[in-house]
Symmetry: C2
Subunit: 153 residues, 2 copies
DNA sequence: GCGATTTTGTTGAGCGTTCAACTATTCCGG
DNA sequence: CCGGAATAGTTGAACGCTCAACAAAATCGC
């Protein structure tokens, strides 16, 4: 069976490469800053953020995996590391004996509080300061469309 | 010295999280597809693409690093791996005795030719098919702005 | 020219992610 | 209820990336 490849035209090509370059440069930059200033990669920062926003600062592992868009394996390894750092604690889930609950410790909350201002400043400087309000709005709609498209199918 | 943190307002918050989720989901998806169908991560695919587009299919390591937006160390490791796969060969640079030149082999070109249609189809399905022409245009401008902003400063 | 500096590229250790395999528990059909 | 399927989470190996340290050659300043 022959299937025609729908190649990218030059405009699409440029869009795709610019997007790739931009998103990689952005996440590399923020990751490096966070690692330097707070001693944690961005993925771990996100885990702490999610836990901090939730009642009792505790979440089932699988919920946390969904919220951070990571695989169970990845989260398992990550929480193991956060646990040895003393930022997260694991407890058995009372309602499901297979389950584990990740709990943000006070030290974890403090680490997050220390890291947040610098990181937010970085997001602002590297992303929002570069774009017009209209572009920010466009980016939000585009991103939400993509999220729906990627997680829907 | 007290510096006020310019926190994100709820709209910016949502924009930032949607963008993070979308770009991670997109690159994860494409990376997984490429790994499954072509046995290479997206970063290696990009190296082969850049080499394939250039006269004689050869580039100095440092140029290749710039073009792919990667560190010298990363590229060194990557090319080492591509070399054992037989897709790239390294030669001494005739004009600079410090230098190395990465050359795309015929096998590498063939691997790229085999991988490209599926990957391009993936880019189209996961990105362009989801967006309106206007949004694609917006995304191009936003990305180009960000690239300039991130690589300029 | 010559010494200091910069540039080029590599290396190895440490870390985070992926993938497949696995255990334990819960859910579901009959 | 009971047996099979689905779900929750972990584990270890392989891999790619980062970082710092390094060697070698080119370039700059005087």
């Amino acid at each position: 069976m022959v299937v025609m490849t729908r190649w990218l035209d030059p405009d699409e090509q440029q869009t795709w490469r610019a997007f790739l370059t931009a998103s990689r440069a952005l996440s590399d930059t923020l990751d490096r800053e966070l690692q330097r200033d707070a001693g944690m990669p961005h993925a771990y920062y996100e885990i702490l953020v999610r836990l901090s926003e939730v009642p009792d600062r505790r979440l089932r592992m699988s919920e946390l995996a969904d919220l951070t868009g990571s695989s169970r394996s990845r989260l398992s390894h990550a929480v193991a590391r956060l646990e040895t750092a003393g930022w997260v604690r694991r407890e058995d889930c009372p309602t499901d004996r297979r389950g584990q609950v990740a709990v943000l410790t006070d030290a974890g909350f403090a680490a997050l509080a220390a890291a947040a201002p610098g990181h937010v400043e970085g997001v602002r400087r590297h992303l929002f300061d570069a774009l017009s309000p209209a572009q920010v709005d466009q980016l939000r709609r585009i991103s939400e469309t993509l999220v729906a498209h990627l997680t829907g199918s």
